[in-house]
């Protein structure tokens, strides 16, 4: 299963790391050009013409001089690695991207404010300077953190590669020589044999049973025959072109290299992939929107207070400093770190569930995905042919196709089955590779054709050792399969004690086999073939063919002893034995079966409102069969063709709107206009695209995106990589996926299991919800942080909360609870709801701001102010004496400020009280944030329904309290952070407010649940 594919394309990607990061600017025209189909024409030319074109010889090959000349002209036969982004650019992108900008602006404003103060005052307060430094430090530290996070996952990416230089056998000047594949030039006469990788795009000139595996290019799982004759106008379909980086499975072939390096089909795809621009991730868009809101609020508050302070008679300079202060106070310093950590945690959790996320922001993308375009081969299917059905004794038997052989089995007692198994085992050239006896049969490697190995495995599973059977019935003669006969025949010695000494077994295209049969075996007895039997055969054949399966017919005959005595010399060239009047035994049909977990996963996606589209390079019938098998076309849904067949009317008379499902052929797709394409994507819920080229896959993805969908693409082949790159999130397969696809993808399924996508969707949706909660929690404490400053300006009271304490909250106590919300369990079944609408369901909306700022934040601010007034009052400054005291309070030379009791205070004494107030305000915020984190746990449910099972959150509650106590009571804090020990009673000041927050929000959520869609939900459900 695809072992050959995992290392395909290695030449191409010798040193590139991360294509996503490469901002390769390509002219739009250039890209569109690449999107067009392959321009190879050599398949239509004769061999001589090709030779002439490349000045080569069919026998001698190129001359060494010519080859050297071509090599200089065309460059080495390797794909240009996409330009890698220098590490410092990546680092800068982390440092200045998205959220960081907000903090940088904040830091700059801080330094500006400090500069103004330094220029105008003798002893400028260091607050703004510290704040600026801390803000820059926060950005730099989080930037480094996410940079290393990203670097770590790209390291995992590199571990996927192990470089083996590729060799190629070329004929130059009549001599066979083994050269490095990079040295191959156009015109070289190249020889390939089974197991080799094709070193360039080859025009086949001669072949002996050559078959290639094109699955990495087209997605077809069946090996394709290669022969010198052109069979199709489309270069991808014709038999006489073998493509660079595909594998030769068996046989040998000789061909002239027509394209090398980037000009090969594969190279074009790679260039197309690296030339694609990818849009912003949905979460990046959300964060941008969030920044807009926050900036809006900050600027509004800042400007209005600027005007107000001018009106109140402050000087211009003071007003400017206030303006900057307010804007900076509105920046949630800790949020960047919180978001990064939350995303990292989810990425780790997903990695444990076999989803490796390459780009942190892509963690959420899968959650908002509304369309999944899945490749068939290897993603939905197991990528190995397996016997699915058998027809004998005039009945269709179902074989077990599951990966772990857990499925049902059929009746093996029939004598016909014994004969059928014997034919399948004997008339079969596939053998298990050596030294695999310990492996389960299905996991063993087989040398040989895909369908023969399917038969081999099937027989080995049901009848025991094929090897033993072959030893008992030694092969004496054989006619291999060829396209004219369409059958394969072999003659074996029979077992001892049999009246006839030779058994002729034959398999091949069913109609050919039937033509040669005169009898049919039913229940072990030979019966003459009558019309009834023929009709039964036709029905069975059609039915199996309609399932998209590849059907083979089997027949045998015991050669009569009298005509063919022991030792008879069978001549396969002259055919000195009869190949007619055989006895038809049965049919066996094979398919690449779907993975066991896929139907369930597709069902889950569907219930999660995600449209699953199959995009494959395989044949429509096979694609449709698999689609039906995995539920992409659900039971009872018909395509236009199905309806036509059922009603017995021409396809053109069927209203396309009646059919929910549709299967679209690549050649049809080529002729569709953009509108028609949109129409199809919009009006059909279940779509299968078959025979699609890589370019068309890209067009499909673009079509979906045009309709506003957030598209995930899964795929493993090179042919998927442009689509993977273009998609909002590309999901590559870790085991079978090619390197190119892994590089183009944002996420890698380490177990190749489509079902892991469902996990990804779930985690993505959960983190989106939880980020909302985290942000709501973090933003709330902004109000109690900013109102002190506003009141300081407005009513001239001593400053209730200082810069340092604000930083202690944002970067200290708030951090762990905010992060712990990322661990919160989902409130309802998130896989039962529709994907979020990126236009409507925002991460941060006005309702969240209204709750956080307008409601909970206000209660918190009051709690803080209450503690502030309590501390001052209990120290002798009653509230009504405070208003207007600011000028005297902050006057350094005033050392006898009188309090409400007539006591006189020195500057330093009252400043200690002020800092004690800051500490009390800080502790109060911690206390009200207890309640806030508990209410932020849920958006709709009550805490009593949700429970307190989030251990990290409980830890967070204790941690923030302990940190607050430490900051207040630790000796030395008065000097270091100017925080002073509090009287125990001051801790309880904010308790009523904390309680109010809890009760208020529980009531709000109760009304919200009781009255779905009501006013409360419309205005407060974030």
């Amino acid at each position: 299963m695809g072992y050959g594919r995992s290392d395909s394309y290695r030449v191409a990607t010798t040193q590139d790391k991360d294509k996503k990061e490469s901002p390769k600017k390509k002219g739009g025209k250039d890209l569109d050009d690449l999107k067009k189909e392959v321009p190879i024409t050599e398949h239509k030319m004769s061999v001589e013409e090709v030779c002439r074109k490349y000045a080569t010889d069919i026998v001698q090959g190129l001359t060494n001089a010519k080859a050297a000349e071509y090599l200089i002209r065309d460059g080495p036969n390797a794909l240009t690695p996409p330009p890698t982004t220098p590490e410092w650019v990546k680092f800068c992108r982390q440092l200045f991207g998205g959220f960081s900008i907000l903090l940088w602006i904040g830091a700059l404003l801080c330094f500006l404010a400090y500069a103004i103060q330094a220029a105008t005052e003798d002893e400028p307060a260091g607050d703004n300077l510290y704040l600026g430094i801390v803000l820059s430090a926060v950005v730099i530290i989080t930037g480094c953190f996410s940079y290393f996070q990203e670097a770590k996952s790209s390291k995992i990416m590199e571990s996927f590669k192990n470089m083996v230089p590729q060799q190629a056998l070329v004929i130059r000047e009549g001599e066979k020589m083994q050269i490095n594949a990079e040295q191959v030039v156009a015109g070289d006469l190249v020889e390939v044999k089974g197991g080799d990788r094709i070193p360039a795009d080859l025009r086949i000139v001669s072949s002996h049973g050559c078959k290639v595996d094109n699955s990495s290019l087209t997605g077809e799982s069946e090996p394709q025959t290669r022969s010198p004759d052109g069979t199709h106008d489309n270069p991808l379909e014709t038999r006489n072109i073998a493509f660079f980086s595909t594998n030769c499975v068996e046989g040998t072939a000789r061909g002239i290299a027509v394209c090398t390096g980037d000009r090969t089909v594969m190279g074009r795809i790679a260039t197309l992939t690296s030339g694609l621009e990818t849009g912003k991730t949905p979460i990046a868009k959300e964060i941008e929107h969030f920044i807009q809101i926050i900036t809006g609020v900050a600027v509004f508050l800042g400007v209005s207070f600027f005007i107000l302070s001018i009106v109140l008679g402050y000087s211009w300079l003071e007003a400017v400093i206030f303006l900057i202060g307010i804007i900076v106070a509105n920046v949630p310093e800790g949020l960047l770190a919180t978001v990064t950590v939350c995303l990292t945690l989810t990425a780790k959790r997903m990695a444990r569930k076999n989803c490796l996320v390459k780009n942190l922001e892509a963690v959420e993308t899968l959650g908002s995905t509304s369309t999944i375009c899945s490749d068939k081969t290897g993603t939905l299917t197991q990528n190995r042919m397996t016997v699915a059905h058998m027809w004998f004794d005039n009945t269709i038997h179902e074989a077990d196709t599951t990966e772990d052989q857990s499925g049902s089995s059929f009746d093996k007692s029939s004598a016909t089955w014994v004969s059928l198994a014997r034919i399948a085992a004997l008339c079969n050239r596939a053998v298990f590779k050596a030294a695999q006896d310990t492996l389960p049969i299905l996991k063993r490697d087989v040398a040989g054709d895909a369908s023969e190995s399917a038969l081999l495995k099937c027989i080995e599973l049901s009848c025991g050792s094929v090897k033993a059977m072959r030893e008992k019935n030694k092969k004496v003669a054989e006619i291999p399969f060829n396209s004219t006969n369409k059958y394969q025949l072999s003659i074996h010695e029979t077992e001892e004690g049999n009246e006839n000494s030779y058994l002729l077994v034959m398999k091949g295209a069913p109609e050919r086999i039937l033509d040669r049969s005169s009898h049919i075996m039913v229940q072990g007895k030979e019966q003459p073939m009558d019309e009834e039997m023929k009709e039964a055969f036709q029905n069975a054949y059609q039915e199996l063919g309609g399932l998209g399966e590849r059907v083979l017919g089997f027949c045998h005959v015991f050669l009569p002893e009298d005509k063919y005595p022991k030792g008879f010399a069978f001549d396969t060239d002259e055919v000195n034995f009869e190949t007619d009047n055989l006895c038809f035994v049965g049919l066996m049909s094979m398919i690449d079966p779907p993975r066991a977990a896929v139907p369930d996963a597709v069902g889950k996606c569907r219930s999660a409102g995600i449209k699953v589209i199959m995009v494959t390079g395989d044949h429509p019938i096979t694609a449709k069969a698999i689609a039906k098998g995995v539920g992409i076309i659900s039971e009872g849904n018909e395509t236009v063709e199905d309806i036509a067949a059922r009603l017995n009317i021409p396809v053109s008379q069927v209203n396309p709107r009646d059919a929910k499902a549709c299967v679209i052929h690549g050649t049809d797709l080529k002729d569709l206009s953009q509108d028609q394409m949109d129409d199809i994507l919009r009006n059909h819920t279940e779509i299968v695209f078959a025979r699609t080229s890589p370019q068309q896959k890209l067009i499909i993805v673009e079509g979906c995106q045009r309709l506003g969908a957030i598209v995930a693409v899964t795929g493993d082949g090179v042919n998927d990589s442009p689509a993977l790159k273009k998609a909002d999130i590309g999901v590559a397969m870790g085991i079978s996926g090619s390197d190119v696809s892994k590089q183009a993808a944002d996420m890698i399924l380490l177990d190749d299991n489509f079902a892991s996508i469902v996990t990804g969707v779930e985690e993505g949706r959960l983190i989106f919800d939880n980020l909302k909660k985290s942000i709501a929690y973090t933003l709330t404490s902004n109000i109690p942080e900013i109102t002190p400053f506003l009141f300081f300006i407005l009513v001239n009271i001593p400053l209730p909360l200082g810069t340092i304490t604000i930083l202690c909250i944002d970067l200290g106590t708030d951090m762990v609870p905010a992060i712990s919300l990322a661990y919160e369990a989902a409130e309802s079944d998130i896989m039962k709801r529709q994907p979020r609408n990126p236009l409507r369901d925002k991460l941060v909306n006005e309702r969240l701001i209204s709750i956080a700022y307008g409601q909970i934040g206000m209660i918190q601010a009051l709690g803080g102010f209450f503690a502030y007034f309590v501390v001052l009052a209990e120290n002798g400054f009653r509230p009504y004496d405070l208003v207007g005291i600011r000028l005297n309070w902050d006057d350094r030379s005033n050392n006898d400020l009188e309090d409400s009791y007539g006591q006189q205070w020195t500057y330093e004494q009252r400043k200690i009280v002020e800092f004690t107030c800051h500490t009390a305000f800080f502790v109060s915020i911690v206390v009200v944030q207890w309640a806030d984190v508990i209410i932020c746990k849920t958006r709709r449910n009550s805490v009593f329904q949700q429970g307190m099972r989030n251990k990290i959150l409980i830890f967070g509650l204790f941690e923030e309290t302990a940190l607050a106590a430490l900051l207040s009571y630790c000796p030395g804090m008065d000097v270091a952070l100017r925080m002073y020990p509090l009287k125990p009673s001051w801790w309880f000041c904010a308790f009523p407010y904390s309680f109010l927050i809890f009760v208020y929000d529980e009531i709000r959520k109760l009304i919200l649940r009781r009255n779905p869609g009501g006013w409360v939900e419309r205005e407060t459900y974030y």
């Binding site: 009513v795 009052a873 209990e874 120290n875 006898d896 309090d899 007539g902 020195t906």
Partner: protein
């Protein structure tokens, strides 16, 4: 402050009771009709003109110019049509217009209602919060003692300050306008110490605390201004500034219940000038214990704290040279050497007298 609050309230009320239509336009509220419905309408009468293109969707909506209300409407138009029978289209179009109008109104009303509901909600919510805040503040104020603050640990020791209130005292002794501000300040400050005022207060025992914890009304010990002698400003109203020998009055901060141990007195030293003569009033700069303890503004309303005046007897050479003087309270347990708080039990000032 109150004016701003009133203004905001007025704005809020205005907003709440403004007519609704101005709040939000109904631009995107126009109800849409399906093509079928329009065709049905057309089939019912001669609306719209028969030569209209087949696809109604493509016709641009024309602004309706006819007047509505009393001057327009069905009846007016019927009258204008004279005796011709009314066409169904006319009625239908009026029905349509009415329905459209109703729909518009309904949507505006809903939007407006929602908007006001939010305003009202926030009004009530904040009113409630304000109420709750006031309640908690009231409860807190109830727990406070009238006469003594709950905690005094932040003022364990008093600070020293000087009068005139300035860190740098610099003046030209020959120009009275130059030092008038200082002498005026001192005169004002000493008003409370006028002998006429102090006569009303009691005489207390020298060197003893005036403990009167039990009394509801505390008596006040006398501190006459005349005690400051040359620095009282009585005999020399320029407080020595005219001679270039300025008086500076040192005052210790009031702290409720403070009883300094030992015998506190003020001692001043001039930095870098050990020869500078300093004279203290009362003698030796003593702060008598009888002025302690202080019982707070409420019960000890007329309390005056003891003062010490220091006169810097600057010699001729000291003129035009800045003198830095540090005064400390000594001889007691009062702190005068706190590293952080330079005003605690000590005070530093600079004097520059020019000629």
């Amino acid at each position: 402050m109150t004016t701003i609050a009133k203004l905001l309230l007025a704005l809020f009320i205005l907003e709440l009771f403004q007519p609704c239509q101005t709040l939000r336009g109904g631009n995107n509220l126009a109800p849409s009709y399906t093509r079928d419905a329009l065709l049905a309408l057309r089939a019912a009468g001669s609306f719209p003109p028969p030569n209209l293109p087949e696809d109604i969707r493509s016709t641009a909506p024309r602004r309706c110019l006819r007047r509505r209300g009393r001057r327009g409407g069905v009846r007016q138009r019927l009258r204008r049509r004279g005796n011709r029978p009314p066409l169904p289209s006319m009625i239908l179009s009026n029905v349509r217009s009415l329905r459209r109008k109703m729909e518009e109104l309904r949507i505006i009303a809903t939007a407006c209602f929602e908007y006001r509901l939010i305003l009202l909600f926030y009004f009530v919510f904040y009113a409630f919060l304000a109420g709750m805040f006031c309640l908690t503040m009231w409860v807190m104020l109830q727990t406070l003692d009238e006469n003594i603050p709950t905690y005094q640990d932040r003022v364990p020791s008093p600070g020293l300050v000087i009068r005139p209130h300035a860190a740098d005292i610099s003046f030209n002794r020959s120009d009275p306008t130059n030092y008038n501000q200082y002498t005026q300040h001192l005169h004002n400050f000493l008003q409370n110490y006028n002998d006429s005022v102090q006569e009303r207060n009691d005489l207390c025992l020298v060197g003893e605390y005036t403990d009167q914890d039990a009394e509801p009304v505390k008596k006040v010990c006398q501190f006459k201004r005349s005690l400051l002698r040359q620095c009282s400003g009585l005999s020399d109203s320029s407080f020595g500034y005219a001679e270039g020998k300025p008086c500076i009055i040192i005052k210790m901060n009031r702290v409720i219940g403070l009883k300094p141990q030992g015998d506190p007195f003020i001692n001043c030293t001039a930095k870098r000038n050990s020869l500078l003569q300093i004279r203290y009033f009362p003698s030796e700069g003593r702060l008598d214990k009888m002025f302690f303890p202080y019982y707070g503004k409420n019960t000890h309303a007329d309390y005056v704290q003891p003062l010490v005046a220091v006169q810097l007897l600057l010699s001729k050479e000291d003129l035009n040279v800045e003198q830095t003087v540090e005064c400390r309270v000594e001889g007691s347990n009062l702190r005068n050497n706190d590293e952080r708080d330079k005003a605690l039990g000590r005070v530093t000032f600079r004097v520059l007298v020019s000629e």
